[in-house]
Amino acid sequence: MLTKKECVAMLLAGGQGSRLYALTSNIAKPAVSFGAKYRIIDFPLSNCINSGIDTVGVLTQYQPLVLNEYVGNGQPWDLDRTFGGVHILSPYEAKTDTSWYKGTANAIYQNIRFMKMYDPEYVLILSGDHIYKMDYDKMLAAHKAAKADCTIACMQVPLKEASRFGILNTNKDGTIYEFEEKPAHPKSDLASMGIYIFTAEKLFKYLELDNRNPDSENDFGKNVLPMMLKAGEKMYSYRFEGYWKDVGTISSLWEANMDLLGVSPKFELSDNDSVIHSKSPLAPPAFIEGEVINSIVATGGEIEGKIVNSVIGTNCIIEKGAEVIDSVLMGNITVKAGAKVNYSIIDEEVVIGEKAVIGAPVAEAQKVESKTSGITVLGRGVHVSKGGKVAAGEIADKNV
């Protein structure tokens, strides 16, 4: 019987995702639907199993109900293991040192005992709000080869966007000499992807130290990584090349969905080497009667209307004469006859009444001043009545 795991992954899934507004009113960000049949958390979980990591702690605290139900025993990702597998880690009460998770580092700190059960040599820290495919095993090999204490995955971003990220300033050999969290004047264009591999004993040591510091915000980027750097630990950057997107905002979530479209898309889901697993629903294949152009459609759909440049989730009904253009429809949505949906993200269980008008054509909508860059958002379960209207850039989380 195995009694240890070389590498344990810890997935930070507790974020509130407030910049997704109505989409995260009732569910945690990692449980938000993506790409017609997936949820965001499918990506890190699939990456784990595809990289040979079969022990994953999922740290939740904000609206965990849907996420817990979805992750279940981990079976869709082959993470239902007798030793290891996926575990939901919610905050719990004990005599000392427990509370709601304060920062990212505190969340991991409170689960040191979970990690120690597997006696790991390495710990992989992941975020639950990124869309990408990555072989963590290659990163782990680099970490081992460099005999590093901490390896941070990073990728090149346009310099003008660099101030939105944690930026790594590195030497030629890949070692990091400085870590700047969202710098106003970035010195480099290497952005941290929020993916860290730690040598376990170092992680435990610095988490303890961080916990003892009352001034710390208990955050990896702000506190733990700079502290390790200052102490002279060996910290390496690991360059990732490939598709990666933080889907923390309405516009980036919309873009990432659109990146799936086309015969040669920016992000290819259908290669057989690294399948993204999900809790695939049991619906029959999609029935297509209408016009479907440059779009993806999940199973269970009944499509009699017109779909252009859109992502249509499981069990959606698009009636005759309805039009869905440049939009993302999650699951179980009905768009009734004659309704028009433009440049929108529509959450699950929404019903759009006859002849309702949601959003406006992209070119027009993008001119609208709004916190969603003109994208219209309908929250989970919203009903739009017959002839109802939701203007470009509006966010509706109540019936219209």
């Binding site: 015969v263 049991l282 294949p285 029935f287 152009i293 440059n294 999940a298 009944e302």
Partner: protein
């Protein structure tokens, strides 16, 4: 329904569809874009609350095993009961079973072990949704020895059928085997309920008397000696007894009413694959078709069923076709009334046509 154990014949009537069963058993014939035929009988059992199912296999059952796995997709991966494969039994004196009775003989050990009072037998060559628990309730209410489910329709073929006359109270008056008839008949759909102990006794009797046919030697003469009752099923039912009926049954799914009856309300369970959602290119044109996950459509598709991972090239026109998993149709092909088994490749510019009563069949893994 913990009181009932299910038995499914996964390898029955395979001679009717030799092309489709060349590489697999009847139960694992792909159907409706993502299912296998056995999913219907098996899901009917699960949806009726049955949690112990024995699956009688014969030969070529690798594909069936691959589909069923541990039974987890049917919620039948259990410590107690669950899905149990019953491979053919043979020893020095016995060879592979040749008929239903011999197949049942191979299942006696399983049935003896079963703690359930009742047993339901079903075939895997038909498409229908039936709540078996209603049949079992009826069986108990009628205090029947055997309850046989029938469906009224015109005989399509004149062999390997059993029809019967049913009295007003449901009692079966007479059984006809392989009758010749032009009219609507009460067709036995090979679903029957009995007490487990009663069925075991029938099988034991049959062995002692050297019977060979369950219908001719047991059921037919049983009309007078046993309490045989007919349960009328009046939902959608289609048995797959030829390539033409296979084609029709698939095409029936394009009818919303039938689709809703089969898949609405309660699920038909099947093995789940994690293909990405179907993709429609700028040049795609799709009408009246079922499109599964993993498909990439660049051409025109009408009145067709596309299984997982089918690729339709630019300029290709596919009408009235059933294309199974991972078929690749090249650019500018024209396909009409084609049934193509899994993994076949049709190169650019090919023209293939069959007709409704005789679709053009392409064997698994063919390159054309």
């Amino acid at each position: 329904m913990d009181s009932t154990v299910g038995v499914i014949f996964s390898s029955i009537n395979e001679q009717n569809v030799p092309g489709l069963t060349k590489v697999r058993s009847m139960g694992s014939i792909p159907f409706g874009g993502r299912y296998r035929l056995v999913d219907f009988a098996l899901s009917n059992m699960v949806n009726s609350g049955i949690t112990t199912v024995g699956m009688i296999t014969k030969s070529n059952y690798q594909s069936l095993m691959d589909h069923l796995g541990s039974g987890k997709y049917w919620d039948l991966a259990r410590k107690e009961g669950g899905l149990i494969l019953l491979p053919p039994y043979s020893d020095e004196t016995e060879t592979l079973y040749k008929n239903r009775l011999e197949a049942l003989k191979g299942a006696t050990a399983f049935l003896r072990k079963a703690k359930q009072d009742f047993v339901i037998l079903a075939d895997s060559d038909a498409v229908y949704k039936l709540d078996y628990s209603k049949v079992i309730d009826y069986h108990i209410k009628k205090n029947a020895d055997i309850t046989m489910v029938y469906h009224e329709h015109k005989l399509v073929k004149s062999h390997s059928y059993m029809t019967f006359d049913v009295a007003k109270d449901g009692r079966i008056d007479s059984i006809k085997i392989n009758p010749v008839s032009d009219g609507v008949e009460n067709n036995y759909i090979n679903v029957m309920v009995a007490r487990t102990s009663f069925l075991l006794r029938l099988i034991q009797d049959a062995i002692q008397h050297g019977y060979t046919s369950f219908g001719k030697d047991i059921l037919s003469p049983g009309v007078s000696s046993y309490r045989l009752y007919g349960y009328k099923f009046d939902g959608y039912y289609k048995s797959i007894d030829s390539l033409a009926t296979y084609f029709d049954a698939n095409m029936d799914l394009l009818d919303k009413k039938i689709r809703t009856e089969l898949f609405g309300d309660r699920d038909i369970y099947t093995k789940v694959n994690d293909s990405s959602p179907a993709k429609f290119a700028e040049s795609a044109s799709v009408k009246n078709s079922l499109i599964s996950d993993g498909c990439l459509i660049e051409g025109t598709v009408e009145n067709s069923i596309l299984f997982r991972g089918v690729k339709i090239g630019k300029g290709a026109v596919v009408k009235n076709c059933i294309l199974m998993t991972d078929n690749i149709v090249g650019e500018n092909c024209t396909l009409s009334y084609v049934v193509s088994d899994k993994n076949s490749v049709i190169r650019d510019n090919r023209v293939l046509a069959g007709c409704e009563i005789q679709p053009y069949f392409i064997n698994k893994g063919t390159l054309i």
